[in-house]
């Protein structure tokens, strides 16, 4: 019952205001900004503003040799660099007609899956931090760091590996590496229930993340959503299955789908992917020792290496979605044109702008992190 003297409050027109969210803001992923127009604390318009991480990759790659670009490509996506190397190398192999030895293909799949686990653990941490669960961030980042140690053992670098080259990989695995990887996977599996308690089944997360940023199936398909975000709309679409590359057809894994399409479903899809990645890695640990042979097909002198005229479009399922490279060669020692299709170029711009409408201001960070948008690959 309203009291008799109740009068609805009329907000003055100035109640609508504009806010520049980011780039120097802990709630934004990376160096990115969103201009939001608000009514109270509800967003009525959002405009993504990127370009803070623009380095002109596509331009400077045209100025470098084919082999020099291997050092450049992982820098396009910072949290998940291996799919970039893999996609670039595969596109170059397509143009040059290079065969990748079987052992190198297995090693590449191993690195791709390790990178996927790293990126997802990092996202769990970041996502939890946006709703104030800092313990999860500490655990997720630390767990990821053990994987980085293994990366360092194989490739010599923690973040930017530059390990996958056209025609194979740089080096073979060190002695006893697969055993150490197995131990780490045991450790991760042992800790998964703790992550469940802390994050996936936490009342805070469920209350905050469910029901926000909902994408329906039709919207997901028409907006160009890819990767775990698409599978969180209960659509079993995965490039590893649909457009297989490397040795994925020989590996057993499920395409994880989750119903709902909201921020929580997207995190659950990632959780399922970590478990599937562990499953894939276990198969690799079992089978890799029996696969011998070279790890690299012989290349000509890489400093004087002209690829034949041609073009190729290579795609990889990264932890963020569909990563693709379109490369054109005019027969010279350098690429004529490289086009990078970062998966987040859809998620962080058009999808985010649409999802934010009607959301509340405190959910911006949650929605952005649940999409796992990666600004460096939007800006390139």
């Amino acid at each position: 019952m309203r009291p008799e003297n109740y009068r609805p409050v009329k907000h003055p027109p100035s109640h609508e205001y504009e806010l520049y969210f980011g780039p120097n803001h802990p709630g934004i992923e990376g160096n990115y900004a969103i201009r939001v127009r608000l009514k109270g604390d509800v967003i009525i318009e959002a405009i993504a503003d990127g370009g803070y991480l623009h380095r002109g990759f596509e331009k400077i790659m045209e100025e470098r040799l084919w082999i020099q670009n291997v050092a450049l490509v992982p820098r396009i996506c910072v949290p998940d660099p291996v799919p970039m190397e893999e996609t670039y190398s595969r596109a170059v192999e397509m143009i040059g007609g290079l065969e990748v030895p079987v052992r190198a293909q297995w090693i590449r799949v191993m690195l791709l899956e390790m990178s996927r686990i790293c990126a997802h653990l990092f996202t769990f941490g970041g996502n939890a931090a946006t709703i104030g669960l800092y313990t999860n961030m500490f655990w997720g980042v630390t767990m990821r760091d053990y994987f980085l140690d293994l990366f360092e053992e194989v490739t010599g670098a923690r973040i930017y590996h530059m390990f996958i080259t056209p025609g194979g990989v740089r080096r073979d695995l060190p002695e006893g590496f697969l055993g150490r990887l197995g131990n780490l996977l045991d450790e991760l599996e042992r800790r998964m229930p703790e992550f469940e308690d802390l994050f996936f089944e936490s009342a805070v997360v469920i209350n905050r993340a469910s029901g926000i940023g909902i994408i329906s199936q039709e919207q997901a398909l028409s907006w160009g959503v890819t990767g775990p975000n698409l599978r969180a709309c209960d659509l079993p679409i995965d490039l590893r299955r649909d457009d297989p590359y490397l040795v994925y057809p020989e590996l057993e894994f499920d395409v994880v789908t989750v119903e709902g399409g909201d921020a929580l479903a997207r995190m659950m899809a990632r959780r399922g992917e970590v478990i599937q990645s562990i499953r894939i890695l276990r198969q690799i640990i079992a089978r890799l020792p029996s696969i011998g042979g070279a790890i690299r097909s012989p290349l000509p002198n890489p400093l004087a290496w002209n690829l034949p005229v041609g073009e190729a479009y290579a795609r990889t399922e990264s932890s963020k979605g569909e990563t693709a490279f379109y490369i054109v060669s005019d027969g010279g020692p350098r690429p004529y044109r490289v086009h990078v299709r970062g998966p987040s170029s859809m998620h962080a711009v058009q999808v985010l702008e649409k999802l934010l409408i009607g959301a509340r201001i405190e959910d911006i960070a949650q929605i952005m992190f649940s999409l796992d948008a990666c600004p460096p690959e939007v800006d390139r």
């Binding site: 623009h54 596509e58 331009k59 398909l221 907006w223 679409i237 379109y326």
Partner: protein, 174 residues
Amino acid sequence: MSIPAKLNDVLHEMPGIKVRMMNERRVRVDLSPDTLPALLEILKGRLGYCHLSAISCVDWVQTDQFELVYHVWSHMLKTMVSAHIFISRQPGQFISVYDIHAPAGFFERDIHEMFGVHFEGAPNLNKFILTSWGGPPPMLKSFNTREYVEKTFDWVQYSPDWLKDIEAKGGGID
């Protein structure tokens, strides 16, 4: 390695089309710019080519043309069609396909920014990345990034003692 029959039928309805199988799951299609929107529409309507993976632009200086490549993927046929068209470089103008594929909005905006191609009917061609850039579209082949850098920025003069020794002997890092 052959093109799925359904796809082959649909593609050959287009006048003046050249079809080439690039690999198992990728078909390259060359056609005239006027028929491209119709092709995308038919592919989407009949064969489920609903995922626009990317639009790539290539600047061909010698022929004075822009090449636009539309990569569409069908979740049904599990095949990718890359439609290549060539447009003249001088007006640098084409029709937006935003009403067929929504992701085109981002790619067209990007191409407009990087190459200066104007897409008629695109929802938003405002600058996204290069908001504080006053120069020509940087991805054009005529723009020399190295020259621009030499002109705009300074370098740290790096001459440690060990390098001076080497340079005295006629060596160096240049």
